[in-house]
């Protein structure tokens, strides 16, 4: 047993760190570190820079243009990116649809879609959830009826994150109503510029537009855009959902946030002294720091453990989201009453208007509100505890 990274891994970390130092544009870095929203352009620009380095798809095998890193290397890369203030890459293409295309897509689909994902030129969206379905994915009602070489898609998808920028969307649709819920589902790739698609914003509780409803009204989708076999989409969907063992723990992001928190705690004032000197506040930070360390080690244990993704993923999801939520809560409270103010313009580039307190207060409450989604989406934490009961405890 050895908790140290190998010299090779340490060298790899240095390489990534140097690359980030050299290549991460300062304007992007500054926005991310201030917890302000990166623009679509920033996300795409950064993806192109990574792609130029051959690192566009950090989880991709070499045969598809990835660097072929193992999971520990991927984790190091993620962590260094987060610590450096790089924006998050867009998961929907790189980590959700791409693995499905690689595993179940035909050659034509691979050739057509993977390059655009890798260089960031095509923005992918997710069409899994439907209104009222929640954690019960298999109850979906969007239909695709076969009409010659096309499917005619009708229905609605929801919770489509950043779908307003979307070029393509991958969807689960019902192609057979005769069979029971999890069968009769197919996996389609749909061009979002197709006639009949309507993307409507859902305003979140923080007042932001991050999520969308996507409506399909007789949308024609060529049959060649179906992944794998008709009615077998559930298999591919499960693969997609089970693909991530440790990503939901978000360790890299939270380590970056913890570093930021320690800065904030030195900057924000409590009756004329930095709030870090307030033991009640500091205790909560120290508690989270310890829990985050435990989470990190649990992630590493899971990664280097031969067994496949099981209930460990649920444990990591629960702990990761709980720690993240409490960290953002603490970040909000660090700025005290300043956090009540809502200045959404201050989240935009080039804002020079008035602030209340420091810039730390700007994303405070909004981020806290927004992060409530962590314990709801991706299988609610209640569902995760059900999974642990069943898989690990055998109940």
């Amino acid at each position: 047993m050895d908790l140290n990274y190998t010299p090779e891994q340490e060298a790899f970390r240095q390489e990534v760190r140097q690359f980030l130092k050299d290549k991460l544009p300062a304007d992007i870095q500054e926005r991310v570190q201030k917890r302000l929203r990166p623009t679509k352009d920033m996300v795409q620009r950064w993806q192109q820079i990574l792609h130029a380095q051959g690192w566009g798809g950090s989880t991709w095998p070499k045969e598809f243009g990835g660097p072929g890193w193992n999971e520990v290397e991927q984790l190091i890369f993620e962590e260094e990116c987060a610590l450096a203030g790089a924006p998050r890459q867009l998961d929907f293409g790189l980590r959700m649809v791409a693995p499905v295309i690689m595993k179940f897509g035909n050659q034509e689909q691979k050739d057509r879609h993977l390059p655009g994902i890798l260089d960031g030129s095509v923005w992918w969206s997710q069409g899994y959830s439907e209104p009222g379905a929640g954690s019960d994915l298999a109850s979906l009602r969007t239909t695709a009826e076969r009409d010659g070489d096309y499917y005619i898609v009708n229905g609605q998808k929801t919770w489509t994150t950043l779908g307003q920028h979307g070029d393509w969307i991958f969807c689960l649709v019902r192609t057979n109503k005769e069979v029971k819920s999890q069968e009769g589902i197919s996996f389609l790739l749909i061009d979002m510029k197709s006639p009949g698609i309507d993307v409507k914003p859902i305003i979140m509780l923080d007042g932001e537009h991050e999520i969308n409803d996507v409506f399909f009204d007789n949308v024609k989708v060529p049959v060649e855009n179906r992944i794998g076999e008709e009615d077998k989409g559930w298999t591919y969907a499960k693969y997609l959902l089970g693909h991530e063992r440790t990503g939901l723990a978000n360790v890299g992001q939270w380590k970056a946030m913890m570093r930021r928190m320690k800065e904030i705690a030195r900057q924000e004032q409590d009756d004329g002294k930095p709030i870090i000197e307030n033991a009640r506040f500091r205790d909560r930070l120290a508690q989270l720091d310890a829990e985050l360390r435990a989470l990190e080690i649990t992630v590493l244990r899971t990664l280097t453990n031969a067994s496949g993704p099981g209930a460990e993923a649920s444990t990591l999801k629960i702990r990761g989201t709980e720690i993240g939520q409490r960290m953002f809560e603490l970040a909000m409270e660090a700025t005290g009453q300043d956090a009540i103010t809502h200045i959404p313009e201050a989240l935009e580039p080039d804002y020079t208007g008035p602030l209340v307190g420091s810039l730390n207060a700007v994303p405070g409450a909004g981020d806290y509100f927004n992060m409530r989604k962590l314990s709801i989406f991706g299988g609610s934490n209640e569902i995760q505890r059900n999974i642990i009961s069943k898989l690990v405890l055998g109940l």
Binding site: D271, H342, V356, F369, R372, I376, E382
Partner: protein, 382 residues
Amino acid sequence: MNFELTEEQQMLQDSLRRFLANEYTFDKRRDILASGKGTNETIWSALAEMGLLAFTFPEDYDGLGGNGIDTMIVMESFGRALVTEPYLATVVLAGGLVRDAGSDAQKQAILPAIASGEKLMALAAYENGARYNLANVKTKAEASGSDYLLNGAKTAVIHGGQAKQLIVSARTSGDTRDENGITLFLVGADASGVTINDFATHDGFRTAEVSLKDVKVSADAIVGELDKGFPALEKAIDQGTAAVCAEAVGTMDAMVETTLEYTQTRKQFGVPIAKFQVLQHKMADMFIHAQQGRSMAILASDQADSDDRDARREAISQAKLLIGQGAREVGQIGVQLHGGMGVTDEMWAAHLFKRLTLINLLFGDADYHLGQVSDNLLDKTA
């Protein structure tokens, strides 16, 4: 020992709730908030007509002589409906301060004007970097003949952008953080040298940053005594704290109700999610928090009028501590049980959650008040 409302109080509560149920619906509230004005003339006038704005003022000044329990009734009803009108700022904080510490002339000039609905006011008590310490006052008021010149800045002035007149705490002697040497001044919002930056809050209220540059006020603008403004200020904030405690109780109750309703309607895996035992127990916990919060809001409201400083402050801090924690729990569970819908702007639960979150940050968060009661324990047992 009696926890019943009087007949009058019951009537007040009933008519207010009926009014709000009709006139302060989800849609109407959204439109009011969208106006960005921080108050709605129709609603505010109606509240004035119902006598609400005068309830806690003395009868000599067009009031009805009500007490902290009356404020509680109003605020709890506001909390249930998420009313964002400037009642706390104008009636409870500024109005209460004038009532308790103002001169007769000030009361004559101000209380009836508030009561009739024509005058909005705000209390400018906090400063940047001071966090929740009301005695950390750097804003200076220097005598200049028979006048005073005010210089400095105030933060977190609730509804400050809507007020015609502010009450500003300023230092007339002593060092930063001294309780002695703080004086309260009436300052017109349109006085020369006053700049008010009006902001929205996340929960649909308004707050302002106020800067004061050589603002000249006369000696009769002093509320209470020179250098001795702190006890009155502290009491006003305590009354405001009791008021938001009561408000939070209304909001918690509303969250319990809307969550019960939602979970009984919403189905997953073929059954209403309210059938899942884990969710039932979480709702039981919400209920327990709301019950506990109600007990503490009653305590705080009962003590808010008291001049026994130690007893009052202990009650207020104990109440705000538990209600801050309860609001957090009830808010988080409520959103969680609404699933994805709970984090959208469309759901009542999301708005209740935001208010519950921000109430914890007003007048001292749970950690702050835990510190107060904890250190108090040290003094008492030393």
